[in-house]
Amino acid sequence: MNKEDKSRHFDGRTDKEAIPIFITHEEFRLPELESLTKIEHVKISYNKEEYRKNCPFLVVEIDSEKEATRLIKRAILIRNIYELWGMGKTYEEVHTQVKSKPERWPPYDYKSFKFIVSAFGSTCSSDYQVKIINSFAYLGFKGDIDLKNPEVQFGVLEDYGLDPYLPGPPPEPYMIYFGRSIASGNRDLIQTYNLKKRRYIGNTSMDAELSLIMANQALAAPGKLIYDPFVGTGSFLLTCAQFGAFTMGSDIDGRQIRGQTNRSIKSNVEQYNLNGKVLDTLVFDICHHPFRDNLWFDAIVTDPPYGVRAGAKTLGRKEPFKRPLTPKLIDGIPAHKREDYYPPTKPYEMSEVLSDLLDFAARFLVVGGRLVYWLPTVVDEYSNSDLPEHPSMKLVSNSEQNFGQWARRLVTMEKFKENIIGEHANVLNAKGLDNLSFVYHRKDDVIKEKQSGFKLNLNLISCILKNL
């Protein structure tokens, strides 16, 4: 049976659709949603004014159920999408709306079904849930109730908000949504890529959820080539490849790439069955890279080493003029010709990392290609003008993950025009951040604590979208 036809009205319009989104990283939700519309070529519209960071529901207009399903099939921050049947401040309003479209009910008359009642910002007893479910009895579904594998699922979603100034949840919800569940996002992937289950990780491996969000921000998709110039243990190679892209990475330190026997980037690639998608890893310094001039990459996804948790290094010496530069000999062979050669390195200031990264992206990305990277900031001192700029790159989104005194921001930029030789990144405003690594180092323990607290706080949030 063609569900989509059934969900259409007699007047030719599609049903309203509501999408509750379950989200932990509140500033990342809209950018992800926007990226998904681009990846899946789905048109949506919603009222930006209506969007609130601390609300897990967002109502959007979307053309069809098929598109709604496609839109969220790889979503990490969208939990669910519902077809909106009724919404209102009271149940009376909700029921009136549901009853105004009885033509929507018949397709589900004989299907096995399940009702869920969930309250955001409050709890509801099972007695209350039963009472609510029974109030929808007029729908007259004759199918079996199946709590495990229902053919159709309906949701009653109450939003009590998260007002920090109230002693407890308000007595009545601010808004009630009722709808039919259409599809779920892909939050299961977070478990698949959970660092605890990954065979090879380093101390700076990016958490699974954020790595997956970054792959969405990069518009990772089959046929694309994506590159990480600070590859480390290769988290992004995996998540971008998960969505079908071909990936490659490089790092100045080959030890992280190689890992140990049976625990390396290669073993991770095998663990996730991404052979053939993760193409190559190379050892070199991004400031002295061997790429032939060409628009190689569809996206660059990276977490540069700013010295927050692992110091950045580039080729060279801290005090360059102390010794004359002549190759050193070991056993009669110039040291750098030996296979295990690791050249001297010097610290790499954050503003230099940024300017090199942006210049590199502007030069090697295809037009329309994206650069997705993390930028650490001090919360009190940060202003949006601190973001580095480049004449051929425009800002797409900038989402903060707050750790208390400092934060990191996921910055997504898009190359919108050809790079002109001689044009360079402007990182003057980011210069102030160069000397902060010491502060971060000391705060490392605090950061870990805050990080776990942060997750608990935000786990409750979700959103709704609709279609008129």
Binding site: K224, F246, G316, P343
Partner: protein, 117 residues
């Protein structure tokens, strides 16, 4: 994709010449979309030369047809060369300055000495 990037080595610096190679073939899923995407970016002559060094023969000239109509046979050959052939060990030598880059466990080491960077 790579060229020699040692200081003052600016011309005739690719393709890097392979020697002492140990090649492994690993079958992977054929993805014509990716190949069509990559084709315009490749320096064909360089690829032909490189492939020849590991005993794979590619046509000397790119097929004339537009990238959309390339025949499957050709794309499959390209797939074998680009995606299924992995050089596990070996050396890459710059044709100009003779700098040798080592490939170990499938990972090329392109680091330079401080005198060259």
């Amino acid at each position: 994709m790579l060229q020699c990037h040692a200081k003052n080595c600016n011309s005739n610096n690719y393709p890097l010449q392979l020697s002492k190679v140990e090649v492994v073939n690993q079958e992977t899923e054929f993805n014509p979309m990716f190949l069509r995407n990559m084709l315009p970016k490749l320096e064909w002559n360089a690829l032909v030369k490189t492939a020849f060094q590991i005993n794979v023969t590619l046509p000397n000239a790119l097929p004339e047809s537009s990238t959309d109509e390339l025949d499957e046979e050709f794309l499959k050959t390209l797939h074998r060369v680009l995606l299924e052939t992995h050089i596990q060990q070996g050396q890459m030598t710059c044709p100009n300055c003779n700098h040798v880059y080592h490939i170990k466990d499938g990972i090329p080491n392109m680091l330079l000495d401080e005198t060259e960077a």
